[in-house]
Symmetry: D3
Subunit: 237 residues, 6 copies
């Protein structure tokens, strides 16, 4: 039995609130249950130096948690002086995930920065961030299209992410914090709207897992991502 009483293949309630940040070209408050992430997409003219003059744009991401998003207060990274290894790992993942579905040539020589700030954490912050970031990115690109900066929205498809894990011996979908801290194995899956796998990160700190277990997690993830993509489609319809 899961702590939340959910069925093994049941996601938490997911919602997207668009346009919540007045100044941003695109923004979204995404909720996976009690995990709340505020995402802003910012359009900028300047590119990273190594990309200049190649006729392509760039999508990058930053990720942070408010100090009291977590059960115990976490120190601010501005006072520790640097983003932690975990933070950097997550923001690199978000960036790669979004670039995998963006037509960077279609975007042109512009950069879009996606800020993902976790207001409240209950497990799965990186997967909620990726899923909500797609909405903010879409709205930023729609903003550009409305101003004739792009002809079409330069997105190849949707991208969404979900975590799965083996909890008390059972494969379950969309781990919350109680499950995440007790799971034998957990894996994050990033997949596209047409079913392609963009990223798998599977880790077994306690007990190694088998190929069969990997496949059962992948199967759960596929169902979860299909559900998330359907919600994304409804949100931007």
């Amino acid at each position: 039995m899961r702590p939340s009483k959910r069925a093994p293949d049941q996601m938490r309630a997911v919602s997207f609130e668009r346009g919540v940040m007045r100044h941003a070209e695109g923004s979204c408050l995404v909720k996976f249950g009690d995990t709340h992430v505020l995402v802003a997409a910012t359009l900028e003219e300047r590119l990273p130096p190594w990309l200049k003059g190649q006729g392509r744009g760039w999508v990058t991401a930053e990720y942070s948690m408010l100090p009291r998003a977590t059960h115990d207060r976490t120190r601010r990274e501005s006072t520790t002086g640097r983003p932690s290894g975990r933070t950097q790992e997550i923001q690199r993942l978000i960036g790669r995930s979004l670039r995998s579905v963006t037509d960077l040539v279609g975007l042109g020589e512009k950069q879009i920065t996606i800020d993902c700030d976790v207001l409240q954490a209950d497990g799965g912050t990186r997967t909620a961030a990726i899923t909500g970031a797609w909405i903010a990115l879409y709205d930023c690109l729609a903003w550009m299209r409305a101003r004739s900066m792009v002809k079409e929205i330069p997105l190849k498809t949707h991208v969404a992410a979900v975590s799965c894990g083996i909890y008390n011996g059972t494969p379950v979908l969309d781990l919350d914090y109680a499950e995440d801290s007790a799971a034998e194995t957990d894996a994050n899956f990033v997949m596209t709207g047409d079913g392609g796998i963009v990223e798998i990160q599977g880790t077994a700190e306690k007990t190694p897992f088998t190929q069969e277990e990997l496949l059962s997690l992948l199967s759960l993830a596929r169902g979860g991502v299909e559900h998330l993509v359907a919600l994304q489609k409804a949100a931007v319809a």
Copy 2:
């Protein structure tokens, strides 16, 4: 005429939403018009080293803005490696303001950290933060009282803050961003529920101001703080 059409002594719409952060002992989303600050109060057992064993507690504050709280995106302070001078000035001000109304002996040897994170900025973020922080602090202390950690809520009175300035030659209350960036003079006033002045920060980068102007700003501020204290009282009633 003010850009917002407000009368010179008219504040923006102010609201407090309590209990918005699931993990925090006290929290408040405060809005002064389009300025939105999320405040969390965290109770911690550890004191700053220089305060140990003196039978008193401490209240401190941290302040930050989300990168896209502002019209143009601001760099994250975790990537610049340190809180800016402006950030440090503001968080010292918030801490002093709250300590001025807290009975630190009544609190006992505990520390309360107030995190003020600006979700959206339109001028007056520090005054909104102080005003909302009083609510979060109150709720944190009420949480302690409910657990018999304190007998009475160790607050002497309310504290609230507002900015005033001379805009187009007229003293006006509660500057928004459009006014703030054009004002000849601006001043922040922190005052208590019984009318005492805790802090005045008045600055005239363009034209020095006179004693009469100072008094007219102080008079506006007094009215503004009275209004804010009334709203605080209603919020915690």
Copy 3:
């Protein structure tokens, strides 16, 4: 009775020694009693990037204390890795104060950096620094005029600063360290040669103050600044 036996409205002995640094375009060793600050004004061709091409110059300031300027040794900020919040707050104040009386268009596209290094501290280092910095800035501008880099000295008026506070219930002028650490309220006033107020920073960490107290401090400060401006005039005559 003040620890120094001074009358409530009596300043410490103030002196300016000009031209004490061989390499600087302007320099001044300013003493407010046992508070000694060495000020150097440096003329530089380079402007902050955001100011280029606007036909205006800039005046900025840095502030530091020698480690043993204070009663106990203070750690060097080069070993802590960053200027403290207090340091940044003070150097921003010095810069704003000087810019308020400088004709930045008359200066032309040049920057003057004012270094204020406290050799010995006994309270009031920031007010001594501002007051002495006006002398060093004046001498730097006179150096420029002597080389026909400016026609007139681009200063609109004098600027000077003094602290006041309520000590043992009595408003007093120019707090020394013994008074400053015991005062209920203290305030720094920066005022111009023609009586305008440039900056007020009033703080009551212990007991809030009233409007009447603020006005009595302001009155003391006005007298103090008039005295300082007269000494500045004598020094550069």
Copy 4:
């Protein structure tokens, strides 16, 4: 055809040289073709603070590349001031991989730090590091057993790692630099001596991959790890 003329399922020449660092309790120079990593295992009495008094030890890792390990010189991380995101991601991976096969209770309240310094890089530095680190860790634990600090070597099994990817449409084993930079998809697999999966990191920045492709990479990786474990067994026999 692979640039190195290898068959799709053919690893590079792999070798382990034990005991190469005079001062270390365990050490190993591991080579995967032209990728050379020097690994040192250091036994220390001190534990991370959060682990004290729990009757368990810890294994952690650090990773670095010499500046000219790479084709173009890379800046030293001591001059950039911090380990990069990539470095932190890799050292966290190495630590997790080794802990997954270590009996931390059997180790007792001690910490072993594994330093992996890349002398020369040609793709697959993290997988070579994990594979060689097992040897250095084994030798460090054998050093402890010889001194009766542990009764048995507290290792549950072997652990080794290899990368696979889809290069020119074909799944291939053990990517070198030329393949790695051109591959559509690449994945790192960390597996134990008894076939369990400890970690999968699969990334498709260009084209998403399918479940079938994932399984073909996993099958290649399984063969590679079996080969590496056999070589580890021969090395410590």
Copy 5:
């Protein structure tokens, strides 16, 4: 002919002003011509951790230059975030030099920190600092003796330092800035009151030097140090 018209073996005018810093246990303003260094000696109870419980004390030094001590303004090390290599090299040299003549067992378990702040630079700042630091250290130790913290002043002898160099082919004593920047070779010599050599740092970036040249520089330095020691004796008599 030297730029300053001095004879090859002629030092600049040297002076010591004792007791110039009100708060310090010992202090000295030392001048070697236009090179002015303010030295403060601070007595502290705390020792470096690695020295605790060994019945010995420690003498350490820090060195800094005011930004406008030099012809062009130098950036403050608090803004670059760290002491430069040159700064660290100099402060290590000053510390070693003073420790070589201090009876650390006689000092007892205390630390004396010597702060050397260059107010004005014209070559030879490190040699002036060492020479003046001996005075400040002596006065700090005399302060301790006056309070019966030590029975005798725990100094074995004097220590002083001077630079020499080959300028236009001639060995000269006590280089000023004009000579220092043009010299083929320069060397700093630290020597004790009884003629022992504590430190030699000789550098030839342009042309290597010979043993004969080294000996002629050493001979000049010996004369210079004898002169400095005589002045130190007169100063503390």
Copy 6:
């Protein structure tokens, strides 16, 4: 008797292994007994900004030790955030030593960076690094000559370095770690192939040394450097 049984004027076994780093333009693994340093020379087009357009090149050096090069593990400088004072002092010394024998005009507007990474330390790492760096620099310049980037190898002569010290009252050549940590005095000598002195760094933290002792160390060093230069000549023949 020396711990290693060597005669007072006997160096440790010295060897050079050239071309050990596949990517570097020049490289050398130099061994002075158990002290092993891996040196890489990197040719870069970019010059330090202050050298641009002067028709000259530059040679600079960086130095580091692997964490377990030493008996106890040393913290990585990427985690302390900065190169230590000792590291900076050594890398400045290596750079100066190499520049003293390089024809910088002959090199042209290019920079060569010498990376010296200590794989194993047993005293004398800086002298081994300088001596091996000459080989790596030579090979880098030969690489350039082979590509007609320079006509002749722009080296004026050889440069090599050795340490000497007074151990148990006897002057000895090429201190190993056991001697270095016990020596009364030690000195590093950098000398050229034609006998010129480039750098002397002599330090006596325990007992000051005499001119006679200095000369006996210099005499030992001269013999050691002659031996090293002969080995360098054999290595590049």
